[in-house]
Amino acid sequence: MLSHLRTIPLLPLLGAAYLILVGRHHSRRAVHHIACMAVGAALVVSADAFFFGLPALVKEGGLTDVVGTWFASGDLRVDLALRMDALSGLMCLVVTLVGTLIHIYSTGYMAHDKDYARFFAYLNLFCGAMLLLVLGDNLPVMFIGWEGVGLCSYLLIGFWYGETANASAGKKAFITNRVGDLGFLIGMFLLFRAAGTLDIPALLDTARGGGAVLTATLWWGQPVAFWAALFLFFGAAGKSAQIPLYVWLPDAMAGPTPVSALIHAATMVTAGVYMVARLGAMYLLAPAALAIVAGVGALTALFAAVIALGQNDFKKILAYSTISQLGFMFVGVGTGNFAGGIFHLFTHAFFKAGLFLCAGSVMHALGGSGDITRMGGLAGKLPWTTWVFRVCWLAICGVPIFSGFFSKDAIVAGAFATEVFGPRLAWVSPTVGAGLLAAALGTAFYMSRLYYLVFTGECRADTRGHLHESPIEMVGPLVVFGLGAFLAGMAGLPPAVGGSRADLIGHWLAPAVGPPLEVSSGFEWRMMVASTVIALAGIGLARLFFGGGAREPARRFVAALPRLVAVVRSKFFVDEIYQWLVVRPLRGLSRGLFVVVDRILIDELLVGGWTFLVDTIGRFLRLVQVGDVQRYLAIFAMGLAALVYVMARPAAPSELKIRIEGRSAVVELGDREATSGKLDYGFDFDGDGREDRSGPSPNATWSYTRPGRYRLRIRVTDPQWSTARTIERTIDIR
């Protein structure tokens, strides 16, 4: 171990910062050297940490690196902490390896782009953010990476911002991700409220210990763990393009192809799967949440595979294929088969990145077009690309000995064999398993359709004259991915094939995500045979339909079911439905609120109402303001007289005591002036209007004949000025 874990994300981040600040002034060579070195160095450091830290990774829960407190307030404390354990170490290697290869590939692919430095700055930034996501030891740090990769995705999809469509696609990706991030945030808050911490190891310890705080019922009879898992999965669905938030990924193909390979196939979109696996122990506390994860995964796998059947854009097909494969991975983690899900993530990173890079190579050769109806017969023209594509194609179809076969099989067999759902939800397991088998058939079919339409038959491209294989910096990474797609499956051979120690990945991940799922040997063999049959059937069917270009059966099929084909081609109108159900109503509502509530109700009526009121009163008052000093003076004189009269009244007695003694009432006015003898008092005790007592004395007594309520009126007169004041009281005589 040569250095801290923090250097791993820091290297690409520094590279990005440098390139953003001064990259424009450097030559292309300098730019790509800096960018590739930054990621390559991160790969070296990761490998160094991984292999030197092997014992710690396996036994002690991993290496940690605490940079410092990020923020702390009250009982919330979030450290900038990184951790490399078995799972994050593996992810880290995948990310840096794929990242480095794609950086190298990009030097060829983007060679003629004028925003070279900006592109590599974004790529570096992405790698840094992705590594933060992977290595983050607590959920908020993970969230930095989580949103950071979303940002980079936004920037890179809209890299060619001159086209409004590209910029809009980037925005759509970011906003859809944000919708998911809301779930991530709420999931975090739920966990924090329940467990009082956001550190992943602490949360997992709580969960593994049975976690009473996590299994306490929260809403609608479901435990905290269920809701937290559900909200976090919503976040994962956003990032990993699952139903209902998958819509951004096909549009994301507007970005440069290396970006699609790195971000939208191999790394970022797998973050959701990674997160669920990372928090596996918590998910295991909530079988219902796992069932939802698995169900959504299977549904997405199938749905996206169906849509992929009807697409004609090279990259769009791969995008739907990615969505579908991510569904497979979610079924893996959703059936408690975390190692299986991560294994597929691992192999998928190779074959899907390989496929995208082949797409890039093909489009590079054809001058940028991705329409597969205008390709064909490229096998001879682009030999390296074709061979790599063949390997990756067979891998994704699940043909035996290729990597995808083992990882897909691990998931499908696990889906049938799992017991994680418990007796009440046991039906989920065969349902998702069957869904996956159907999706696998679809996968084999649409991928083979892609292969046959692009690489076999007659060349239908306009530029067939000067087709050329890509330069070495593009072919090199391609070949590496091809090898990976071929061999990566060896890392996770099922026990039935290679013996009990063959499942390297499963055993490797065991300390992080628990032991691999047990599948009986016989069942495993049967599943493998079934998968092989399905894969070959799909390929065979596709060959029948599209071998060497669209054939008669394909045309007949389209003619027979035009409606169905149209619906599939237009992706089941999901984008349009979202547009009409969510975006437009919300925007209409906002416009309405702005005009009706903000402008009219608040500004015109509430604010304007007050000003109108004040204005109206003012208009009336100005009638008094005649501008004639003499009238003012007259009013002034009258006012003065009134004031003098009021002020000259005898002061109110400072003390008025009324005592009731039996049937008599005794009134005493404790007045400073009362004793001066200058005032005259009159007392009307029974309220009949006549004064019963009067004279200079401020005190009086009166005996009532009957009990009852009486009105007592006292008059105080100043005879000198003839001013008077009266005081009234009500008294009860019993």
């Binding site: 307030s73 919330l76 001159g162 906003i175 709420i186 500004d603 604010v607």
Partner: protein, 547 residues
């Protein structure tokens, strides 16, 4: 050099010096910039002298002002005002430094600088005053230069906007004045002293009815400033018409006074009334968060869009303060600072666009990144900071406020608050969190329409649309750096606010418990900590909502 009187007086003296210079900005602008810089440096010295372990006021300076009425020129700084003072001096400095501060008006720049410096004095005094009379004087002092800044250097409807701004603010502050005078008398009745001293006032508990009225008077003044929906309509007008510098200061600093005053005065003076009305204010805050975001989405004018986004962002601050936990209040304070940086910067960026293109309509822009890459990059960072991207300044405040609100029920029980401030905190947090989506929607839409897309309008291709100059780069460099540093290392800020916030919440809880124990009593003095005010376990148990 850490005398707070100096802090307040430096800009004022600077203003006097600037008046004496000849017309135009040849000499007045350098002097103004230097004065603002001195002010900034002096506030940094205060930051250095500040002791983060003390929750009470520090570096106090107390001079009799009008002894006959018990008025003191009493200033002090604590963790709540410390960073706001720094924000003020920084933003005034940056505003004076940036060439676009006066908008398209190029005349009377000397007077503009004078107005800015007087405004700075008013703002700093308001943050630092701990004598209610001095506070009120500074509070009103801010109004005058801002009125002139909008009214003289503003856009077409500047007079309408300036008068609207003044009347809205005055309505609130005059009611507050009435409440201040009432309290002045009550303080005398209880303590026998004629005093405006903050610490004394914060120990007086009023009878219920007057407490509620006084609270409403104070709160109205503050909520207009925030602004809380539905008291916000002055804001878009003021922002749109104000010159760039006015908008920047208005957004970055002036809006903070609402939340600051609420936290500093309304809560400690009227604990029970605050609790009674907290549900209404909390819902209004959340309504404002969502409403402001939706309004921002449909604006065609960039400045109006940013103005409405302020309404949305400051709702978080109010919500955080009402939560009354360390997380909530510290998050609220942090959000104020972050909003100052990000929205202040956004207004500056919009001002530069306006300077180059003489329009603020979104439809008139498009594809500008090609022309102004440096501005585009800085603008993007500020947009993302405003949208609350983790790693930039906007995230920490929002995260703390939301997590504080979400876990509020638990925190209230744990801290011994006798009854909850408002119901359904988790629901409110969830609703408020949707603003994260909406912020991305309106900010990125705005950004895209300005910077992305084809560069197809001839006006946008004009060579006059040039990238940032040296001084502008400096200004944006500082802002972007601040946004980054605050996002990555917010802890130095948070740890300096912690002690004061804890002291404030602890005393609030004590006084609230006393008020609950003695709900209809007369005006009285309760000195927190001198009586066992924390409710007993039995009371706390009773207050716990039954499941």
């Amino acid at each position: 050099m850490t005398d707070l009187t100096l802090t307040v007086l430096i800009p004022l003296l600077g203003a006097v010096v600037v008046i004496a210079t000849p017309r135009g900005d040849r000499t007045s602008r350098p002097i103004g910039i230097v004065v603002a810089l001195v002010s900034l440096v002096q506030s940094l010295l205060i930051l250095r002298a500040f002791d983060k372990s003390i929750g009470a006021f520090q570096l106090e300076t107390d001079r009799p002002w009008v002894p006959a009425l018990g008025i003191h020129f009493h200033l002090g700084v604590d963790g709540i005002s410390l960073w706001l003072v720094l924000l003020t001096t920084l933003m005034v400095f940056l505003t004076l430094l940036s060439p676009q501060a006066m908008g398209l008006h190029k005349t009377r720049s000397r007077e503009f600088i004078v107005a800015m410096l007087v405004l700075e004095t008013g703002m700093l005094g308001t943050f630092l005053a701990i004598d209610l009379f001095a506070f009120y004087v500074f509070w009103e002092l801010m109004l005058i230069p801002m009125y002139f800044i909008i009214g003289i250097w503003g856009g077409e409807r500047r007079l309408y906007a300036a008068i609207k701004f003044v009347i809205f603010t005055l309505v609130g502050s005059l009611l507050m004045l009435a409440a201040i005078l009432y309290l002045y008398a009550q303080v005398h009745a209880v303590t026998g002293q004629w005093t405006f001293d903050y610490a004394t006032w914060a120990t007086i508990t009023l009878p219920r009815g007057p407490e509620l009225l006084c609270f409403l008077a104070f709160t109205l003044a503050f909520m207009i400033k925030v602004p809380l929906v539905p008291l916000h309509t002055w804001l878009p007008d003021a922002h749109v018409e104000a010159p760039t510098g006015g908008s920047v200061i208005l957004a970055a600093v002036l809006l903070k006074f609402g939340a600051y005053g609420f936290l500093r005065f309304a809560l400690p003076f009227f604990p029970l009334a605050a609790q009674q009305t907290a549900p209404i204010i909390a819902w209004l805050a959340v309504a404002g968060i969502i409403f402001g975001a939706l309004m921002a989405w449909v604006q065609d004018d960039v400045k109006k869009l940013v103005a409405y986004s302020s309404v949305s962002h400051l709702g978080f601050v109010v919500l955080g303060i009402l939560v009354l936990s360390d997380k909530g209040i510290q998050g609220g304070i942090f959000q104020m600072l972050a909003h100052g940086i990000s929205t202040g910067g956004l207004f500056l960026a919009v001002g530069i666009l306006y300077d180059r293109r003489h329009t603020r309509q979104l439809a008139d822009f498009g594809g500008l990144w090609k022309k102004v890459p440096v501005l585009g990059a800085c603008f993007l960072v500020l947009v993302l900071a405003s949208a609350g991207l983790p790693g930039l300044c906007g995230f920490v405040g929002e995260f703390l406020v939301l997590s504080g609100t979400f876990t509020a029920g638990k925190d209230w029980r744990a801290s011994g608050l006798s009854s909850p401030m408002f119901g359904h905190p988790a629901l409110l947090a969830g609703l408020a969190a949707t603003a994260a989506i909406l912020a991305a929607v309106y900010l990125l839409t705005m950004y895209q329409r300005v910077m992305f897309g084809p560069l197809d309008k001839p006006e946008n291709r004009d060579p006059q649309v040039r990238d940032l100059g040296l001084r502008e780069r400096l200004v944006f460099g500082v802002l972007v750096l601040a946004a980054l540093v605050m996002g990555v290392a917010p802890q130095p800020i948070l740890e300096r606010t912690a002690a004061s916030v804890q002291a404030l919440t602890a005393s609030y809880r004590d006084r609230l418990a006393e008020a609950h124990a003695n709900p209809d009593g007369p005006a009285r003095r309760v000195i927190p900590g001198q009586r066992p005010a924390r409710p007993t376990t039995a009371q706390a148990e009773r207050a716990r909502p039954s499941r």
